[in-house]
C-alpha cells in the first residue's frame, strides 16, 4: 500500500504565455486511482506535467510527503514517482526487454552493473503486464495495445509507489482501452500503487477511478468519488455538454448519456 502523500498547494503552471493552471490546490488520495478529466485545453495534462516535474511551477508547490518535488534530487524523485508521457518515444529498433530494462535506471548507480534484483523487477513488470512473451520482439512491431502495455511495464520496472499516466488509452481501440485500464486497477489493488491519470473518456473514468478531479480553465470544478461528483449539471459545466447521467447497469458507476440534437427518442415525441 502506497503511503506516500502527494499534495498540490496553490500551483500555477504555464508555458510561454498566460497561466494554464492557476492557483490550484488538491490532495491526491494515496493508494487510490485518481482520474483528471476535463475538456481540451482545460489544463488537465498541464497539471499532470506539473505533478511529474516536467513543468516548473510559476507559483505554488507540489509536495511529496510534504517535500516540494521541485527541490528534490532527480534520482530520488524517480524512485518514488513514475511517469508515462502521452507520446513516449523509443529508438526504433529497441526490443521490449531492453526498453523495460531501462526503467531500472533510477536504481542503478554510476558503476553498478546489472543485478539479479534488476532482472527480477523486469520479469515482474513483464509478467504483470502480460508482455513476457514479447520480450525479444521489437517495440516498433507491436500492436497499439501491446505497445502501451510495454510502456506501462517500463514504468513498473521503475518500481515507484506513485504512477502518473497522461492519457494512457488515447489512440487505442476500445478493447485495448479496457485492457489497459483493467491492468491499472490490478496494479492498484495488488501492489497498492497510487495512480493518477488524465483520461478523455468520461464514462470509463467514472468506472475505473476512485477519485475524479474535473477541471475547466485551469481550475478544479469539482472533485471526489465519481458517484458523488458526476451529475448532469457538472458535466454540462465542465464539458459544455447536455447529458443524462444514469447508473451503469454493470458497475453502478455513473454513465454519461450525451444529448445531441439528433437521434433522440424524446426529441421526436
Amino acid at each position: 500500500m502506497s503511503e506516500h502523500s502527494l499534495e498540490v498547494a496553490g500551483l500555477t503552471l504555464g508555458y510561454d504565455g498566460a497561466d494554464i493552471v492557476s492557483g490550484l490546490s488538491t490532495d491526491i488520495p494515496a493508494g487510490a486511482i485518481t482520474a483528471i478529466i476535463g475538456a481540451n485545453a482545460s489544463g488537465k495534462s498541464t497539471l499532470l506535467r506539473g505533478l511529474s516535474r516536467l513543468l516548473a511551477p510559476r507559483a505554488g508547490q507540489v509536495l511529496l510527503d510534504g517535500v516540494p518535488v521541485h527541490g528534490m534530487r532527480s534520482g530520488d524523485l524517480a524512485r518514488l514517482l513514475g511517469l508515462l508521457p502521452q507520446s513516449p518515444v523509443a529508438p526504433s529498433s529497441i526490443t521490449v526487454g531492453d526498453l523495460v530494462g531501462r526503467g531500472r535506471y533510477p536504481h542503478q548507480g554510476w558503476f553498478r552493473s546489472w543485478t539479479p534484483a534488476d532482472d527480477a523487477a523486469v520479469d515482474e513488470a513483464l509478467e504483470a503486464t502480460g508482455t513476457a512473451d514479447l520480450v525479444s520482439r521489437r517495440v516498433a512491431d507491436l500492436s497499439g495495445g501491446q505497445r502501451q502495455r510495454v510502456w506501462i511495464a517500463m514504468a513498473l520496472a521503475q518500481d515507484t509507489d506513485i504512477l502518473l499516466l497522461d492519457e494512457p488509452t488515447t489512440f487505442l481501440d476500445v478493447n485495448y482501452q479496457i485492457e489497459v485500464l483493467d491492468l491499472l486497477v490490478d496494479l492498484n489493488r495488488d501492489r497498492g500503487k497510487t495512480i493518477v491519470m488524465v483520461l478523455h473518456e468520461l464514462s470509463l473514468a467514472c468506472r475505473y477511478a476512485d477519485h475524479l478531479i474535473a477541471m475547466k480553465d485551469g481550475r478544479i470544478v469539482t472533485e471526489g468519488a465519481p458517484g458523488e461528483v458526476v451529475t448532469a449539471a457538472t458535466v454540462e459545466e465542465v464539458f459544455s455538454l447536455r447529458c443524462d447521467v444514469i447508473a451503469d447497469p454493470r458497475s453502478g458507476t455513473p454513465l454519461v448519456i450525451p444529448l445531441g440534437r439528433h437521434r433522440l427518442r424524446s426529441a421526436r415525441e
Partner: protein
C-alpha cells in the same frame, strides 16, 4: 526469463565486439605489411613492439607506416564513437557530425588558418578544434527554444554546414594557388597527413573521451527515451545532451585536425555497429571499432588498389554517398529514420 534472454544477447554482443576488435587489429597489421616493400605479420608486430633487430624493417614500419596506420585506427575510433553518440542523442540516423556542420566548422577554421594566416602543424589543430567547438555551440544555441528538439538541431546543423562550406569555398577561391591546393587536399581528408603532434593529441583524446562515453552509455540509453522519458527516470536531459555531445565534438575535432574531414565514417559506423550488436552490449565501443575498420579498409583501398594512391576521404565518400541516398529514401518511405 529476462535473465536468460539478456544473457544470450550479452554473449552475442561480447562475441561481436571481440570479433570487431580482432578485425581492427588485423587491419592495423595488414596495413603495415603492404607497400613497395612487403613485410610479414611477424616482422610488423616485432617492430611495433620494439623487439625487432632489423633496422631496415624498423625504419619502414615505425617511421614510414606506423604513423599512417595509427592515424587510421584512431580517426576511425574517434569518428565512429562520436557519430554513434550524435545519432542516438539526436535520435536521427542523419544526425552525424559530418552532416550537421561540426566537421564543416573544423574545416572552415582550418582552411582559414591555412589560407589567411599561413598556419601549420599545431596551429591548424587548434584552429580545427576551435572551429568544431564553436560550430557545435552555435548550432546548439540556434536550435534552442527553451529546450533542444532533435529535428531542429539537425535542420539547423544542415543549414550551418552549407553556410560553412560556402565560406570554405570562398576562402579557397581567394587563396594563393599553392595554399589552395594544400587546402583542397586537406578538405578531402587523408590519414597520411598527420604529424606526431596531431597523432598524440588524437590518441590522448581517444584514450580519455571514449572510456568516458562508455561510462555514460547507460545514461545515453535513458536519453534516447526523449526529454520527458529521461526526466521521468531522473535524468536531466539538457545537461546530459550537452555533456554527451560535448564529448563527441572533442573527438570529431581531434580526428579532423589529424586527417581532415573524412566523410561519412561517423554517419555509417553507428548503424552498422547497432545492426551487428543487437540490443545489448556497448554501442559506443562497437561503433568506434567499426569506424576504425571502415577507415583502415578505406585507406587500404586508397593506397593499394588503384595504380596510384588517392586520399582516404575519396574512398569513404564513394561508399558513403550511396549509403546516405539509401538512408534518405528509407527515411522518406517510413516517415521517420530508423
Amino acid at each position: 526469463m529476462f535473465r536468460l534472454e539478456r544473457r544470450a544477447r550479452t554473449r552475442r554482443a561480447l562475441a561481436v565486439t571481440a570479433a570487431l576488435a580482432v578485425g581492427a587489429v588485423c587491419a592495423f597489421v595488414v596495413s603495415m605489411m603492404l607497400g613497395s616493400y612487403v613485410l610479414g605479420p611477424g616482422e610488423v608486430l616485432r617492430s611495433v613492439l620494439g623487439l625487432s633487430s632489423d633496422p631496415a624493417d624498423d625504419f619502414v614500419v615505425r617511421e614510414l607506416r606506423l604513423p599512417r596506420a595509427a592515424t587510421a585506427v584512431l580517426v576511425g575510433l574517434a569518428l565512429g564513437a562520436a557519430g554513434s553518440v550524435f545519432q542516438r542523442v539526436l535520435r536521427n540516423p542523419l544526425a552525424a557530425p559530418d552532416i550537421i556542420g561540426i566537421s564543416a566548422g573544423a574545416s572552415t577554421a582550418t582552411v582559414a588558418g591555412l589560407v589567411l594566416f599561413g598556419a601549420g602543424g599545431l596551429g591548424l589543430s587548434v584552429a580545427g578544434l576551435a572551429g568544431a567547438l564553436a560550430t557545435a555551440a552555435a548550432v546548439y544555441l540556434l536550435a534552442w527554444r527553451g529546450g533542444i528538439a532533435d529535428y531542429r538541431f539537425v535542420l539547423v546543423g544542415v543549414g550551418v554546414a552549407v553556410l560553412l562550406e560556402s565560406v570554405t569555398g570562398y576562402l579557397v577561391s581567394r587563396a594563393e594557388i599553392s595554399d589552395a591546393r594544400a587546402a583542397m587536399t586537406w578538405l578531402v581528408g587523408s590519414v597520411g597527413m598527420a604529424g606526431g603532434g596531431e597523432i598524440a593529441g588524437l590518441a590522448a583524446g581517444c584514450a580519455v573521451v571514449i572510456p568516458v562515453l562508455m561510462a555514460l552509455s547507460r545514461r545515453l540509453g535513458v536519453l534516447e527515451l526523449g526529454a520527458e522519458g529521461a526526466r521521468g527516470l531522473g535524468l536531466r536531459p539538457q545537461a546530459e545532451t550537452a555533456v554527451q555531445l560535448g564529448c563527441a565534438v572533442v573527438l570529431v575535432a581531434l580526428a579532423t585536425a589529424a586527417a581532415g574531414p573524412i566523410a561519412f565514417v561517423a554517419l555509417m559506423a553507428g548503424p552498422i555497429a547497432g545492426r551487428l550488436l543487437g540490443p545489448a552490449g556497448d554501442r559506443v565501443l562497437a561503433s568506434a571499432l567499426v569506424g576504425s575498420i571502415i577507415v583502415q579498409a578505406a585507406d587500404l583501398v586508397a593506397q593499394h588498389v588503384l595504380p596510384y594512391p588517392i586520399s582516404t576521404g575519396i574512398v569513404t565518400g564513394l561508399v558513403g554517398a550511396p549509403y546516405i541516398a539509401w538512408l534518405l529514401i528509407r527515411t522518406d518511405r517510413q516517415g521517420v529514420g530508423a
